[in-house]
Symmetry: C2
Subunit: 312 residues, 2 copies
């Protein structure tokens, strides 16, 4: 029982958020004659089995919340220019609240290019430059879902202590950089170190951390000898390792070895930690986008509101 | 002489860059019948004596480079909405290459709001959300001048070692955050710690640093006991301390105490370090903006090009 008590249950929290969103959407429908049900469009290109499984999670969450959901699927022959153009057309439809491009894309397509064709107010993955910059300067935006989910968990479970130290492993603009910005901004007021593949002595940094956020994608990257007692671990990695006890022959795990868990004040498991929160935040962003587009008052965003009142 | 040899002479480097830009602009004029001389507009609101001195530096650099310069001055009665609107109008003029808002603004005006009304391609201070986000994701942009100047000096003088550790003091979106992003990105591949006013034990972090970038604005914040032998110091702070030996009774200094200098592998003095580089990078951004607007090949941007070939 003691071991279970330090688990951060992202799956449970994700379901609670979805229930809150459903309630909010029901209330909006009842109280606003002109209310349009939010429509989330997911653009896929030649989806693989894994892509379709991510898609199914999103669709099921949308249904749970009462958000309309549509897939726009293209085959792998589509060019970058065609995909950019199609995204532009899809988002120009006033009935479309929100558009995301399901990752990964085939190799010939550049994700960072295509997301620039989704306008800021419909970019619920928070990946276009406008949204990335608005986070940076602390203005209202649509925040990338995984970083938002990480901060939500840390705040919800009271795990942030102003002035403590966080170490973020990985520097991608998808997760590492925005998480670092949020942890060092007014949202958390922590000091933050970002490390990555070119940093030789990872352990030196992780031993110092009160919170570790790992976004690498490498099983057993963090082991018990690399962390201090009482650390909080947020494991964003998704990896598959061989496991003959499973029917599939593989088992999903994060970046953090399970021998770390007993040393943790709290940790997110994989699966069931950050993953479901990413989906919940996508739904939350879709509702935020719908409210803004329809000129209605913002969601009460708790910890985020504090950070917004005074940029910087 | 030994002490002088570790000085990073930003003033000298700034003049060299201005000379290079002048040569480039002369060449462009000679070889392009339709070439329009770049025009930089600086918006000021109720400028103080200090503001006018910054302005004079910029004007003089523009004249040096062969860039046309214009001040658009408003008095303190202008409202936020009026200023936003005027910025929009000024930038819509096709003859205007580049627009910046001279800081600081009077208290009733929000800088982060007004810069959103300057379109990305004319925002040569690199402060609107689009430019801030494009840096974050590693796409071509106009980079904020001070962070760009810092990286330029570090690269020009060969002071960056991949995998080494940088500590950035200050987390503002003007300097701290973009410098941190550039140091941990492909431009430098360093590990980076960002600290700020809520971090109690500054010394613990600075003692670990191979490079310290201080952007706080507090004289003598960094003292000799807080750094290791051979550190590189980039001092972005501008402070005025009492000095009865001066006619004015004050002396300009940075965040770093002069007793740190003998321990440094290299350091930027204040004045004469980062300040003049900020002005040089503003001129460079204006030329970059002019080339892009007129459909001409980009400047050779050295270290920045490497970082651009593959976002992330």
């Amino acid at each position: 029982m003691e071991r279970e008590s330090n688990i951060i249950d992202g799956k449970q929290r994700s379901l609670e958020i979805q229930a809150e969103l459903k309630e909010k959407l029901t209330e909006l429908k009842e109280n606003n004659a002109n209310w349009r049900i939010p429509l989330l469009v997911v653009v896929t290109v030649a989806p693989t089995k894994a892509t379709l499984s991510y898609l199914a999670h999103k669709k099921s969450a949308a249904v749970n919340c009462g958000i309309a959901f549509k897939e726009e699927r293209f085959d792998s022959s589509i060019s970058q220019e065609q995909l950019n153009q199609r995204c532009k057309e899809i988002t120009s439809d006033v009935n479309v609240t929100a558009v995301i491009v399901q990752l990964p894309l085939p190799d010939h397509l550049k994700m960072w290019e295509v997301v620039q064709f989704i306008p800021q107010e419909k970019d619920v993955d928070g990946l276009n430059a406008q949204n990335q910059g608005l986070i940076q300067v602390g203005l209202p935006c649509l925040m990338p879902c995984t970083p938002q989910g990480v901060l939500h968990l840390l705040h919800h479970f009271g795990l942030i202590v102003k002035g403590q130290h966080a170490v973020v492993i990985g520097r991608s603009p998808l997760v590492g950089k925005p998480v670092a910005n949020l942890l060092l901004g007014r949202e958390a007021n922590m000091s933050v170190t970002v490390v990555h593949r070119h940093v030789a002595d990872l352990k030196k940094h992780t031993l110092d951390a009160d919170i570790i956020v790992s976004c690498v994608g490498k099983a057993n990257l963090i082991t018990a000898d690399m962390v201090k007692e009482g650390v909080v671990i947020i494991d964003v990695g998704i990896n598959f390792v061989e496991d003959q006890t499973r029917k599939t022959g593989v088992r999903m795990c994060g970046d953090v070895s399970s021998d770390v868990y007993p040393k943790c004040r709290a940790y997110t498991p994989v699966p069931g930690g950050v993953g479901p929160m990413t989906v919940a935040m996508l739904m939350r962003n879709t509702v935020i986008a719908a409210l803004r587009q329809q000129g209605l008052p913002e969601l009460d965003e708790g910890w985020r509101n504090r950070a917004r009142t005074n940029p910087q």
